[in-house]
């Protein structure tokens, strides 16, 4: 294994922490400076994640995987904390940094002035998310989860107001409870396997004695509940639509990656620890993942059709996206083949970017569409309303004007909205369609048993995959027609700064469409690597032999 990453691997965690800490030295009124630091940090993150991504692909032909290791404190392998970089984590780190850029630009259109320390919290959130993707240790994962959640509480409450406080209260309570479940699960895993290193757990699981195995399965189930709550799987997802709907748009846009952190951990652990090489535990939990995934898709489809509020529609869209990937993970764990999982990963990239863009669009599009309030004077400018400095709750007394007053036409909004709706509904030629086709092809192509009859559950999945797209299409089209075509002539003021980030995200989606072949081959190789967990395990535990040598030397 080459040390291609050397110290590059830890930078996605270190850079945001340093940037966020540096910002704290500046007065909160100097937002332009903070924005500059944040943008520099994110550009560095993007460059580093590109480098990491090209590193994991390896140089020995297509389909090869290089797993990067970064032992913190240089302890011998099963001890101490280790960062692990494989194809999946490199992809997720890349996605995080790409989503961070538009969200931060959007915040510059005024939202970062609605409260204190927006930029620092944003950077800490990135550090937590990147850390969760990179760590190879279960308890370290808990710590990064908490870093991410603590920052997200701040971002969730950013802008204040009764609606946000109420949703934030529920959000924090639920996440605290889920974190406690995480701790119980992690402690049980340590109690049964005697290790917290994910690769070492995977090594220990097939060798567990029968009496311990039941306890380990309980641990896996408790951990699963904690992650499913973060990933917003039905019936643990009721917190999501109100929370994401109430959060300020740039915060909600970066929150789109947070449900994917839950998905990522489920994907990683269920395939690594309970995957095909787990002996008697192989496939544990796969039926639950499949059924919950299907239920989540159904719930999301009904939800998006049922709610009139655009922000909440975004929440239900992320629930649908979560459910789709979750069910695919369950099928992969049950032996559904790499093609379907590769398609699901491809879909995950595109849908996360689209949901992020949707949250950014939701507020400008529904601006001026709210039910009239009594205390609002006639003809007041909604934009000016939004940028008046807060007068209570520790507001900073300064101007919160946007940096550019340039506005864009209503038509541009309409086009962006239509493109994102098409992407989320899975219409060709956008990645939503390509990903779903790959999943369908994998589901039907790889899983026909000798009898020639597709299992019922796969038919349900296929049907739900199409129906959830249809549901999203109907809901978004209905909203679009009412908002853009049946317009009474009074269009709101939309700033260019609010549309630029959406265009950036659309450009990313466009790039994913044009470069479909290479992205798809990357995700398919990722899925193949995930389905043979020994690649990851051996890469992490390879230095164990040298550690053993060290130990015997000491004993002598």
């Amino acid at each position: 294994m080459s040390d291609f990453t050397s110290h590059l691997m830890i930078l996605p965690i270190v850079i945001p922490i340093l940037a966020g800490a540096l910002m704290l030295f500046y007065d909160d009124r100097r937002r332009l400076t903070k924005l500059g630091i944040g943008l520099v940090a994110i550009f560095m993150l993007i460059l580093i994640s590109m480098e990491l991504l090209s590193g994991v692909k390896g140089s020995s032909g297509p389909g090869s995987t290089v797993v990067g290791l970064y032992p913190l404190g240089n302890w011998p392998m099963p001890f101490g904390i280790v960062l692990v970089l494989d194809r999946l984590s490199a992809m997720m780190v890349m996605l995080t940094s790409l989503l961070a850029l538009p969200s931060l630009i959007y915040a510059a259109a005024g939202w970062h002035g609605k409260g204190q320390h927006y930029h620092s919290m944003f950077q800490f959130l990135l550090a937590g998310v990147n850390g969760a993707f990179l760590t190879g240790d279960l308890f370290n994962l808990f710590v990064f989860f908490e870093v991410m959640l603590a920052a997200s509480y701040g971002l969730m409450l950013h802008g204040s107001g009764p609606e946000r406080i109420r949703a934030g209260l529920h959000y924090i309570a639920i996440n605290l409870a889920a974190s406690l479940l995480f701790l119980i699960g992690a402690a049980l895993v340590y109690g049964t396997t005697g290790t917290l290193n994910m690769a070492d757990i995977a090594r220990a699981v097939p060798e567990l004695p029968e009496a311990q195995r039941m306890l380990f399965h309980a641990a896996a189930a408790v951990l699963g509940v904690a992650y499913l709550a973060k990933a917003a799987a039905w019936p643990l997802c009721f917190w999501l639509p109100p929370t994401y709907g109430a959060a300020s748009p740039p915060a909600a846009a970066i929150f789109a990656i947070m449900t994917k952190v839950g998905i990522y951990v489920i994907l990683r652990l269920s395939l690594l620890v309970l995957g095909p090489e787990a002996g008697a535990s192989a496939g544990f939990g796969a039926p639950v993942l499949i059924i919950l995934g299907l239920a989540t898709m159904t719930f999301g489809t009904f939800g998006i059709l049922g709610t009139p509020d655009l922000g909440r529609k975004g929440g239900y869209l992320s629930i649908i996206s979560s459910g789709t990937v979750l069910a695919a993970v369950g099928f992969a764990q049950a032996g559904g083949g790499a093609q379907m999982l590769g398609g699901a990963l491809y879909y995950l990239i595109g849908s996360t970017a689209a949901i992020s863009a949707f949250f950014l669009l939701a507020e400008p599009v529904s601006r001026g569409d709210e039910p009239p309030e009594e205390d609002l004077p006639e003809g007041s400018d909604a934009v000016a309303e939004r940028w008046t400095a807060m007068t209570s709750l520790g507001a900073v007394e300064d101007t919160t004007d946007p940096y550019s007053e340039r506005t864009v036409s209503w038509l541009a909004m309409g086009i962006c909205f239509a493109l994102i709706a098409a992407m989320l509904a899975g219409l060709p030629p956008l990645p939503g369609f390509i990903g779903k086709v790959a999943m369908l092809a994998g589901a039907v192509g790889d899983n026909i048993p000798a009898s020639g009859r597709l299992p019922m559950i796969l038919w349900i999945y296929v049907a739900l995959l199409i129906l959830s797209g249809l549901g999203a299409l109907i809901a978004l089209m209905r909203f679009g027609i009412r908002r853009f075509w049946a317009e009474d002539g009074r269009t709101p003021r939309i700033l260019a700064l609010e549309v630029v980030p959406v265009v950036i995200l659309l450009a990313m989606i466009g790039l994913q469409t044009v470069r479909s072949e290479s992205v798809m081959s990357y995700t398919r190789d990722t899925a193949t690597a995930l389905l043979s967990p020994s690649i990851y395990r051996n890469a992490v535990l390879a230095p164990v032999n040298s550690a053993d040598a060290l130990e015997t030397e000491v004993a002598r």
Binding site: F142, A150, P162, I165, L169, A177, L180, A187
Partner: protein, 114 residues
């Protein structure tokens, strides 16, 4: 000792869960605290129970690991205590703001009839 510890964890978690499901935000926060205590004790118990055994081995020479307590769960508990303490403090702040803004300590921000 096992029985007492198990009972302590059970009582803490049981009352924590019950309080967390109550409608008043103050009850919820006390419930979360009790749950955190129960979970911390549980993590501690997962390192097995020892009486009068030090967690740190002396330097040099081979020592019998069975005579020492497992230091890792103790480190984990320390981390868990700090994190749950910090997040609970944050939750408390949000709760107070919610009380000030809505004028009620109901978790939904409004009183339910009946």
């Amino acid at each position: 000792m096992e029985l007492i510890l198990a009972l302590a964890i059970g009582v803490l978690v049981g009352s924590g869960v019950w309080l967390m499901l109550r409608p008043r935000s103050y009850q919820v926060i006390v419930g979360l605290c009790l749950l955190a205590y129960g979970v911390n004790l549980f993590i501690f118990a997962m390192g097995r129970l020892y009486v009068g055994a030090a967690p740190i081995m002396p330097k040099g020479g081979f020592v019998d690991p069975t005579a020492y307590a497992d230091p890792l769960p103790q480190a984990l508990v320390l981390t868990a205590i700090v994190i749950s303490f910090a997040t609970t403090a944050l939750f408390l702040v949000v709760m107070i703001v919610s009380r000030g803004m809505t004028g009620t300590d109901h978790v939904d921000g409004k009183e339910r009839l009946s």
